[in-house]
């Protein structure tokens, strides 16, 4: 863990090791305490619940529905939708090197750039789905939520595809829920298939059936 102390002090060129590590340790402890305090500001009964998150969002000057909150959840490796545990909070903030609000604000805008790099984004995308499985043993998410998620997560990057896909999902009746495999398929689709001509789409390949149907629908209605 990088020592915050090294940024501040420039006087003593060389501290004796013992002093240094104790400094470090105390600095580290201070940091941890700050993070803990930070946590307590929003926590309720040892965990940040949805209300806490709303407050946090206000402080961060972000909408509750902003994708960056979702990204924060991803970074924190949050497990339960709408909640941050103390562990998640502390480990995540440590990784971000953040111990207060202003730093968090800054980190979040940095975070957005980090998430949008390809390997991270794929992971984030997958996380977005799994994060929204609220019940135990739940494997699917209803269409309405999916539409919102798609808009949020993929919209900025693939506006056209997402808009049309959302239109389709709303009018089709074959599927009432989407599973992870289909969700991941959508991402692959946006990345691999040229749009809007759909030239390289091959339905004899293992694209999820819902995408085959989407392509048929597109070809019928938007040509």
């Amino acid at each position: 863990m990088p020592r915050a102390s090294s940024k501040r002090k420039s006087s003593a060129p060389q501290n004796p090791p013992a002093v240094k590590s104790s400094n470090a340790r105390s600095a580290g402890k201070a940091k941890a305490k700050e993070i803990e305090n930070f946590f307590d500001k929003y926590a309720n009964g040892g965990i940040i619940d949805p209300d806490g998150i709303v407050t946090l969002c206000k402080d961060l000057e972000l909408e509750y529905t902003d994708v960056r909150i979702l990204m924060l959840a991803w970074k924190l490796k949050a497990v339960k939708l709408g909640y941050f545990t103390q562990d998640e909070w502390e480990t995540g903030l440590k990784t971000l090197q953040v111990n207060n609000l202003s730093k968090l604000k800054k980190a979040i805008s940095e975070l957005e750039k980090e998430v949008r790099t390809p390997p991270n984004f794929a992971d984030f995308y997958s996380f977005a789905f799994r994060y929204h499985l609220t019940e135990e043993k739940q494997k699917n998410i209803d269409i309405e939520t999916i539409c919102e998620l798609l808009n949020l997560v993929l919209g900025p990057q693939f506006r056209r595809q997402v808009d049309l896909l959302i239109d389709y999902l709303k009018v089709q009746s074959n599927y009432k829920v989407i599973n992870l495999d289909q969700w991941l398929g959508i991402f692959r689709f946006c990345n691999e298939i040229s749009f809007p001509d759909l030239e390289n789409y091959d339905e004899t390949q293992a694209w999820p059936l819902i995408l085959d149907n989407f392509v048929d629908w597109l070809r019928e209605n938007h040509r």
């Binding site: 494997k139 495999d181 991941l184 398929g185 692959r188 004899t204 390949q205 293992a206 999820p208």
Partner: protein, 781 residues
């Protein structure tokens, strides 16, 4: 003169003598008055040569004589023969040529006889061409070489004249062309190069011109007539004067110019082309078309295509006709396969008969046309009519033929024929398993309610279906038919049991039909509250059955039973033939005068659907056994019912039918379910053995597997008991990994359906997508 005394003949002398003979020969050939050669003349000439050749050197003049032999021809040809031909033209030239050739051959024959001794030793010793050849070569080199071009042109001109209809001297042409052949002395080169090539070229040009006119002016049948005529004449030509080897080449040229070049234009002529001929049933023209087009390469492809389009169109029109008729039907009757659909099936059969005849007759049983017919039928035979799939229509059609009082009234042979044709049509239907299910349901009805008109016909169609679709297709149905026979035996032993056991007394006449579940369609079994009298029957039979076997489970299906009740009405006692459900309802009125709808429902423990149906049949239909309050035409849950003691009818025995529930939806659901199971099982089986497989490969293997038959793996035996209709159900367990499957018949697998099942299996953690390659799947153990 003896050998010893022979005087040496010197060349000059000898040749002078020979010359006299040669001159004599020439005179004879020229037709001048000259006596024929006597045998002495001949002998002298021959001997002279002989002597001159056998003299001792320097007086053996073989070489010189050989040369002089040739020179004789050369001299004669140059001085006499050539000029005489040269001065003539056209046909006259040809005649002269023929004459001179004939003469030449004679001359060669005679001279070579005179000079024959040279042939014996001299030519072999010196490896020289024999006399005969020398003679012919002279003619070739001097006459033929110079004149063959002119001759050829003259011949071709005559041929063209004959083509235009003029009479020509065929014998002359034959003789001329024989020269071309003979001049080759065994080889056909001269004939081919100097005559045939040009002749073929001319022929092509000739017919090209003709065709370009005819194609504009003539209708397709007329054109074809002309083409056929031309081919006939050309063939004729060959047999009369061309060499036989020319035949295939000549005909090919003609066919090319007349048919290949204009094939498409001909077939697609607007009012007389292939389409029109089919439309107007011009069988003879179509036969001609087949004959002609079968000769040109790939000539039949477009014809068979047009045939296919035509048949498809006709079939599709029938579908539309039936659809339109059906949409005019009243709304309530929409789900029932009605008369129009029956008519439709019959018309399709007729259509098939008609065009099969075409294939056999006009198109001489050619495989290409069989294929076209098949593909055409497959297109429209799979279109449903008015919501009923073709599979259902066919099954209903069969039912009508086979049941008592069916709408088709035909003789035995006609029935056999019809069944044969129906089975043939089945080949075109892709949802054969759907047909099987509908057929089975209707067969069950026929068998259980004794509605089958003729046992032989029932067995006959099963045999035909078996031949066409394999044993798996018909095994259940055959089982059903056999079951009834067994059931009768069972009933006999039941009756024996009853007479031997006076304690076991059901109190009512009881007939039971025991059936094997696996064969019969599945029937829902409701927990009907049986009237007490019937409960006893069930008990008694159960006890009897225990004595027969303890290994089998009985399930009773009351929905299929019939009951004979005696209704004691005021006017008279009437026997009522009703279903068990109806009987149970009626018997309630033995203990209550008046019952409400809900009371009846509770006491019977049936569903609303069933209660409504049965009450309707008893109070709102033809025979009002119950009085309904209020007296409306439909049943509502607030109604009340009373026994109608005033009921009367002139018949002593009446049947009160209970209309059956529409099976269509259930059948389709059942079949769909079976298919899903089959596809799942197939996918799992493939993945289990391959572990990792690409999507396309998986789909392909799945399709292949599903196209075949599977063995039925299980059935829990249960028995159907008839009369009070106790029908047993068993449950078919589908265990995906041990591959116990329902029968899966010739199924047209749908790629989308397979894809859907794969996705479902992924959700159920049987498979997963490979992380690095989304087109690959892994088996999850």
């Amino acid at each position: 003169m003896t050998m010893n005394e022979r005087k040496t003949i010197d060349l000059e002398q000898g040749w002078e003598f020979m010359q006299k003979g040669i001159t004599k020969l020439k005179n004879i050939l020229e037709g001048l008055p000259e006596p024929q050669f006597s045998s002495e003349d001949y002998m002298m000439l021959y001997t002279t040569i002989y002597n001159m050749c056998t003299q001792k050197p320097p007086h053996d003049y073989s070489q010189q004589l050989y040369d002089k032999y040739r020179e004789s021809f050369e001299e004669y040809i140059s001085s006499t023969v050539l000029p005489s031909i040269r001065e003539k033209h056209d046909e006259f030239m040809l005649r002269e040529l023929v004459k001179r050739w004939s003469n030449h051959k004679v001359m060669v024959r005679w001279l070579s006889r005179f000079f024959h001794y040279l042939d014996r030793y001299f030519i072999a010793r010196r490896s020289l061409p024999p006399l005969n050849e020398v003679g012919l070569t002279c003619f070739r080199d001097l006459v033929y070489t110079e004149l063959n071009g002119k001759v050829r042109d003259a011949v071709i001109t005559l041929i063209d004249q004959e083509r235009e209809g003029e009479q020509i001297d065929r014998a002359l042409l034959k003789n001329v062309l024989d020269i071309f052949v003979e001049i080759g002395m065994g080889q056909m080169d001269y004939y081919e190069n100097d005559f045939e090539t040009a002749m073929l070229k001319d022929t092509a040009a000739y017919y090209s011109r003709k065709a370009s006119n005819w194609i504009l002016e003539d209708s397709c049948p007329d054109y074809m007539l002309k083409a056929e005529e031309c081919l006939k004449r050309e063939k004729d030509r060959v047999s009369h004067y061309l060499h036989s080897s020319s035949e295939p080449k000549l005909l090919e040229k003609v066919q090319h110019e007349l048919l290949s070049v204009y094939a498409n234009q001909l077939l697609e002529k607007e009012h007389s082309g292939c389409h029109a001929l089919l439309r107007d049933d011009k069988v003879e023209d179509l036969s001609r078309m087949f004959r002609l087009f079968s000769k040109i390469p790939r000539g039949l492809d477009p014809v068979s295509n047009i045939f296919k389009q035509h048949v498809t169109a006709e079939g599709t029109a029938l579908v539309k006709l039936a659809e339109d008729a059906a949409s005019n039907k009243k709304a309530e009757k929409r789900d029932v396969v009605g008369l129009q659909e029956q008519v439709f099936v019959r018309k399709v059969i007729e259509l098939h008969d008609k065009y099969l005849a075409y294939v056999n007759d006009c198109f001489q049983n050619h495989t290409l046309f069989h294929k076209s017919l098949k593909e055409a039928f497959e297109v429209f035979c799979n279109k449903g009519v008015a919501g009923s799939s073709s599979a259902e229509l066919l099954a209903t059609f069969c039912d009508n033929i086979l049941k008592k009082g069916g709408s088709e009234k035909l003789s035995d042979e006609a029935i056999e024929e019809m069944l044969e044709k129906v089975v043939k049509l089945l080949a075109y239907i892709s949802d054969k398993d759907l047909f099987a299910e509908f057929y089975r349901k209707k067969l069950a009805r026929r068998l259980l309610f004794d509605k089958s008109a003729n046992d032989d016909h029932e067995r006959s169609i099963l045999t035909k279906l078996k031949q066409q679709c394999g044993g798996q297709f018909t095994s259940k149905m055959e089982g059903m038919v056999t079951d009834l026979t067994l059931a009768r035996e069972n009933q006999t032993s039941f009756e024996e049991y009853l007479s031997n056991n006076p304690n076991a007394n059901p109190g009512i006449d009881l007939t039971v039909t025991v059936l094997t579940t696996g064969f019969w369609p599945s029937y829902k079994s409701f927990d009907l509250n049986l009237p007490a009298e019937m409960v006893k029957c069930v008990e008694v039979f159960r006890e009897f059955y225990q004595t027969k076997t303890k290994h089998r489970k009985l399930t009773w299906i009351y929905s299929l039973g019939t009951c004979n009740l005696l209704g004691k009405f005021e006017s008279r006692t009437t026997e009522l033939i009703v279903t068990t459900y109806q009987a149970s309802a009626l018997l309630l009125f033995n203990s209550s005068d008046r019952l409400s709808y809900s009371e009846i429902m509770t006491q019977l423990n049936l569903s609303d659907d069933d209660v409504v149906r049965l009450l309707h049949s008893l109070s709102c239909a033809k025979y009002k056994i119950l009085n309904k309050e209020p007296n409306t035409k439909t049943i509502s849950p607030t109604d009340h019912f009373e026994f109608n003691s005033k009921f009367t009818d002139k018949m002593r025995r009446i049947k009160i039918p209970l209309p059956p529930v529409d099976e269509k939806k259930k059948v389709i659901e059942d079949v769909d379910k079976d298919r899903r199971y089959a596809i799942d099982a197939s996918i799992v089986r493939i993945m289990k053995s391959r572990k990792v497989l690409g999507h396309q490969q998986l789909v392909l293997e799945c399709v292949e597997q599903l196209g075949r038959m599977f063995k039925v793996h299980n059935t829990l035996f249960s028995f159907l008991f008839f009369f009070f209709v106790f029908v047993c159900e068993s449950f078919v367990f589908l265990n995906l990994t041990t591959l116990a499957l329902n029968e899966m018949l010739i199924l047209q697998p749908d790629f989308k359906a397979i894809k859907k099942r794969i996705e479902d299996l992924i959700t159920r953690d049987y498979l997963e997508r490979d992380k690095s390659n989304p087109n690959m799947f892994r088996y999850l153990a």
